[in-house]
Structures are given as C-alpha cells and as structure tokens.
C-alpha cells in the first residue's frame, strides 16, 4: 500500500536549470496538491488538481507548472530554477477535496538551487 510516492527525494540544481518532480498516488484520489515548505515556515500551496485534465493555481504558483493527464500522476515542473525555489516540496492527495477531509502526503523532495 504505497499511498503517495514522490521522486526524487533529494536534488541539487544550478540556477537556470529545469526539472520535474514526480508524484504518483495509488488510492484513486481525485484531488492532488503540491506544497512547498521553506525552513521555519508552514506549507504553502503551489498548484492543485481536482481531477485528470484540471489544474488550478494555489498561493505561490510563480515559476512552476503542472499537468494532470491521469488520475494517478501529478508532476510539478520547475522552469529556470532560482535560489528562491530552494525548499522541501510535498505532494498530497485527497478523495473528495472537501474542507474537512484529511490529506495524504508523500515523503517530500528536498530541492536546493545553487
């Protein structure tokens, strides 16, 4: 029972490079989310998706792109990486997306942009 799987766990990028953070869930959840957590800060929502083919911006979407071609996968794309994108990235999913429903998180990707 894998839940939410994120790859890679760690990555170092040079300024200007691009990369894709992978996220997959096997719970058949409709809703998926990308958060970032900066040191000493709470989680900030980057993008979310309410189902395959539908994505929307969260609180901090600049510098990122997402796609949702299948229910299972929700990759996060960083174009032209900047030091401000150094953070820990968490993918999460939920079944219905209603207010009181708990989120299931992946174990995170620690990204450093140097």
């Amino acid at each position: 029972n894998a839940g939410v799987t994120q790859t890679p766990k760690f990555r170092i990028l040079k300024i200007g490079q691009s990369m894709t953070l992978q996220c997959a869930q096997d719970m058949n959840h409709n809703y998926m989310y990308w958060y970032r957590q900066d040191p000493g800060m709470g989680l900030k929502l980057i993008y979310y998706s309410v189902g395959a083919g539908i994505t929307d911006k969260g609180e901090v979407p600049n510098g990122y792109n997402v796609s949702r071609s299948t229910t299972e996968d929700f990759p996060l794309r960083l174009e032209l990486a900047a030091p401000s994108q150094t953070s820990v990235y968490f993918c999460a999913s939920s079944n219905t997306g209603i207010t009181n429903e708990k989120l299931f998180f992946g174990s995170g990707t620690q990204l450093s942009v140097l």
Binding site: V4, Q6, Y31, Y33, G40, M41, G42, L43, K44, L45, Y48, D56, G58, F90, A92, S94, T96, G97, I98, T99, N100, E101, K102, L103, F104, F105, G106, S107, G108
Partner: protein, 116 residues
C-alpha cells in the same frame, strides 16, 4: 500576514506528562481546523480535526480544544510518549463556495520534544 500562528517554535516535555500545543488564528471565517504531525524526512500525517460547531474533539491520547471567541485552539497529548516527538502543524480552512483542501492555511509548526 499570518492567519494561522503557532508562536512556539519548540516545546520540550517530559515523558508521561501532558503536552499542550497552541495555535491562534485571525480569520474569523475559519471554521474547520486540523492538526498534522511530521517526522523528519517524512510527509505530514493527519492527526485530529475539529469543526467550529464543537469545542472539543478527542481521539485516544489526543484532544483538541477550540475557543472560537478567543480564536484559539490547542492540542493536548496525554500522556506524552517518546514517539510523539515530531513537528506539529495547525491548519485552518474557511468555508466558502467550492471550499476544500485548496483553502487550507498552515501554521509554521511546533517542534515537540519528549524527554525521557
């Protein structure tokens, strides 16, 4: 402007005693609150939640209290165990049309350390 505040970055408690983690909020439209627990190198996991129509919710050793007039909630852990050492995040949600987890606002977290 932080709408959900956890003013204690860390808290140290002796094993067996009560741990009390506090969370304050400023948005009076928040009506659902959740606590998540996070171990190092892992993602957060859901712990307990409370709706604004209640003032208390209990689940085993964990109890969350909500004081709406003070815009304050607290998580009580009794008795505290070594495995409770983790970072605890308070999160709040505002009920609005189409509201869901995309509307969650997280606090910065409190690092709870349980000492033997």
């Amino acid at each position: 402007d932080q709408q959900v505040k956890q003013n204690s970055p860390s808290l140290s408690v002796q094993e067996g005693r009560i741990s009390i983690l506090n969370c304050d909020y400023t948005n009076s439209m928040f009506d659902y609150f959740l606590w998540y627990k996070k171990y190092p190198a892992e993602g957060p996991t859901f712990l307990i939640s409370i709706s604004s129509i209640k003032d208390k919710n209990e689940d085993g050793r964990f109890t969350v209290f909500l004081n709406k007039s003070a815009k304050h909630l607290s998580l009580h852990i009794v008795p505290s165990q070594p495995g409770d050492s983790a970072v605890y995040f308070c999160a709040a949600s505002e009920r609005y049309s189409g509201g869901g987890a995309d509307g969650l606002t997280f606090g910065k977290g409190t690092h709870l350390i349980i000492q033997p």
